[in-house]
Symmetry: C2
């Protein structure tokens, strides 16, 4: 029979077990971390009516969208988790409690040009808090705490949550009479990190067509740095010149003030006036998160405050604040950089029971004891030679092999071999379970990411 090549589409991540176990661990940390802040899980369809999904118009992404007909239905695959959230909240408005806090970890689809590290199917892991008409600033202050907690649990310690407020930027541009050019300026200033202040100044003069003295104002402003206290002190000097600016500054101060109570250490948080996060959507606090020793990765968690989640579906004013982690890309980069922890258990089982004889009853009973103790246990039941059995255990990278020969069975014991150290102990099934469980618990205390 002619065979079809079992290929996977390019741009679609498909992991081998060892890697997938690490990915699952990351997802579990995200679920736990989001849940502990009181976010409800949400699961929306991957397919939506194209009319609903593209209500806003797809803009830049429209060409990338997977859109097709099924019978008479014009359908599309979701390209983010925000549009489905807007649809959900607008559609279930009367059934939800506001503020409505939801997390969603799900696949989204964008038919981008295939290239290394770019994915057409990828997980996003989002949280959003949606208010009904109003939403208190405390929600914006809480977001850095959630980011801090999540990344710490993943095992990342060297990261910085950078925060800014769009009102400060908009106010600053207004007080300088540059509101009409604000978009172009922000886009140019965004290149500071990459091309430096000298080139940015040049671009501001030549392309944005600003007066040189005004570019100085902008660059001076963007160069404000120091501790959060110092930055705020410098910003205070601009107070009184623009109402929006003053409001943004108050918000930024509130966000900063509550950080300590939320348990975010000063070193993981920085006010950064260069952060702008796109142009239209965000209206208040904005966030980016950088792994400080890997700035080349870019922001690993971004988001901000917006005023109107679902204007294409409802007249209700639904302000919100949210962040998103591009999980598939993050996993890919961490893996490429060798930052995924190889010391954690990445075998599909903790213990591999190897019956040496034909009769399996005792081996099965041992496995049952282990499983009741929560140990992920596989019985290797194939009739193979000892060497082949041990080679399977090696290839599987199982932490413990449990050998059961006739001698062991007669004595009601098992031989537990620690595959890493080579140490081998004869124990009762119950003692073996306790011994293995303790070893595994120690390994499971490790984090999935190791800097």
């Amino acid at each position: 029979m002619a065979k079809v090549q079992p290929r996977t589409l390019s741009g679609f991540m498909e992991l081998l077990p060892e890697q997938q176990i690490k990915m699952e661990r990351m997802m579990e940390v995200l679920r736990e971390s989001y849940s502990v802040y009181g976010f409800a899980p949400l699961d929306t369809p991957i397919i939506e009516s194209a009319e609903v999904l593209l209500a806003k118009g797809g803009g830049e992404t429209e060409k990338q969208i997977y859109r097709f007909m099924k019978g008479d239905s014009d359908l599309a695959l979701r390209f983010d988790l925000t549009v489905p959230l807007a649809k959900f909240v607008a559609g279930h408005y009367s059934e939800l409690c506001f503020p409505f806090r939801r997390y969603q970890i799900g696949k989204v689809y964008r038919g981008e040009r295939a290239q290394r590290g770019r994915f057409r199917e990828f997980y996003q892991a989002d949280i959003d808090i949606i208010g009904d008409g109003k939403l208190d600033i405390i929600n914006e202050a809480e977001i850095p705490a959630i980011i801090y907690n999540t990344f710490t649990k993943l095992g990342i310690t060297k990261f910085k949550i950078k925060v800014n407020n769009r009102k400060i930027l908009n106010g600053f541009y207004a007080m300088n009479g540059m509101s009409d050019k604000a978009g172009d300026i922000m886009r140019t200033v965004d290149k500071l990190d990459k091309i430096g202040p000298h080139k940015v100044k040049q671009l501001l003069i030549e392309e944005v067509r600003m007066l040189p003295c005004k570019t100085e104002n902008v660059l001076d402003f963007m160069a404000i740095c120091g501790t959060n206290e110092e930055v705020i002190e410098r910003l205070e000097m601009y107070r009184g010149m623009d109402e929006t600016f003053d409001q943004g500054l108050e918000e930024l101060k509130t966000v900063t003030k509550y950080l300590k109570a939320f348990g975010v250490p000063e070193e993981n948080f920085a006010i950064d006036l260069t952060i702008a996060r796109g142009l239209d959507y965000y209206t208040g606090t904005v966030y980016e998160t950088e792994m400080t020793e890997h700035p080349e990765i870019g922001s690993v968690c971004s988001g901000g405050r917006y005023d109107n989640l679902a204007e294409y579906y409802t007249d209700k004013q639904l302000p919100g604040v949210g962040i998103s982690i591009g999980l598939t890309r993050l996993f890919y980069v961490l893996n490429e950089q060798g930052l995924l922890n190889d010391e954690m258990v990445s075998s599909p089982c903790d213990a591999l029971v190897l019956p040496m004889g034909e009769e399996m009853g005792f081996s099965i009973a041992v496995a049952t004891t282990f499983r009741k103790a929560g140990i992920r246990t596989q019985i290797y039941g194939e009739k193979k030679k000892f060497k082949q059995k041990m080679s399977y255990a090696d290839k599987l990278k199982v932490p413990y092999a449990v050998l059961i020969g006739e001698d062991e069975e007669a004595a009601g014991l098992v031989s537990v071999k620690n595959m890493a150290s080579g140490e081998q102990l004869k124990l009762s099934p119950e003692d073996a379970a306790a011994h293995i469980a303790a070893g595994i618990a120690e390994k499971n205390s490790l984090s999935v990411i190791k800097e």
Copy 2:
């Protein structure tokens, strides 16, 4: 602005938070239960090349498949998790350890005619064990243990795993010279439960065109029942007449023999000769699982042994055994029948912190203490009246409201209100955390399904 109606496509399940939390709990039980038996998680793309996905030909389901062009690519959405598994195993043959045990919980797509309780996007939760060339019978014996453990953890106690062996059926038909009619006979016998033996006999004579005496043989055979021991004793009488039958009987005896060691109680397991599970794919042990007080639901977990997983992709002989739970449909039916446990915590948070004054610092510190103790905590930060705050707590069905007024803050205490009992205690934040954690742990010991 004209609004687009925020509708969700028919046949696509989208749950409100309270229900989604129950669904997530079910998925968590499945992940845990599958993992404890040493299955590795697998996550394959939802989109595949149509050529790959339809290598076998879609048969009956081909019309239901979501298939579309994107640029020059002929694509399709997966309609089950078995074809992607076959593709994965064939494509990664040299990188996997055999037997390869994987679980996958994922969405699949079938554009069936929309009707109540039928879904076009639905979760399947599959496990499979794939051998390289051979696969020992012990793997078939282990499957009922996995089903038993999974359903028990979900909270179902009244269920029966029905087991048969295709070799016994094929052997029986061969010894009666009815092999050529085996398919038609099995399809007819499958209706026994619905239409009874009298009508089945009539159909066998009129439609399958069997001699009346032979229909008696079939019905006598299908009527064999009793304890597993009794059924096997009856089957022993047919031994020696057909090699395939004898082999099937040996396999069935082995599966049954190991049940006790695997911890499956006799009352949750039954040999049932009427189980056939389709026609071509399965070749040995077959399984169905019935909720004994809800036979109208049909089988909630089915599967069996097959000889060749990936013949369309590779020449390698890859026998396997697997089962599948139609999770979305199961959830839907359990929900309809009121079998989902309302006593478990289905609020997105365990504790809702309600600051009574303007200053939030202490409330935030309390929430941070709770979260460190693993309590899912939300701070209600909106400036609303007390009544509105309590009404939010009610609507959210949160188990504990934590009131923090000026008096409490001055004393460094919080008022913890048990929303179900009305009991209210003034405690330190640490004692409050311990009190709430204990209450929640008790509720979380409940199962998601309550018969």
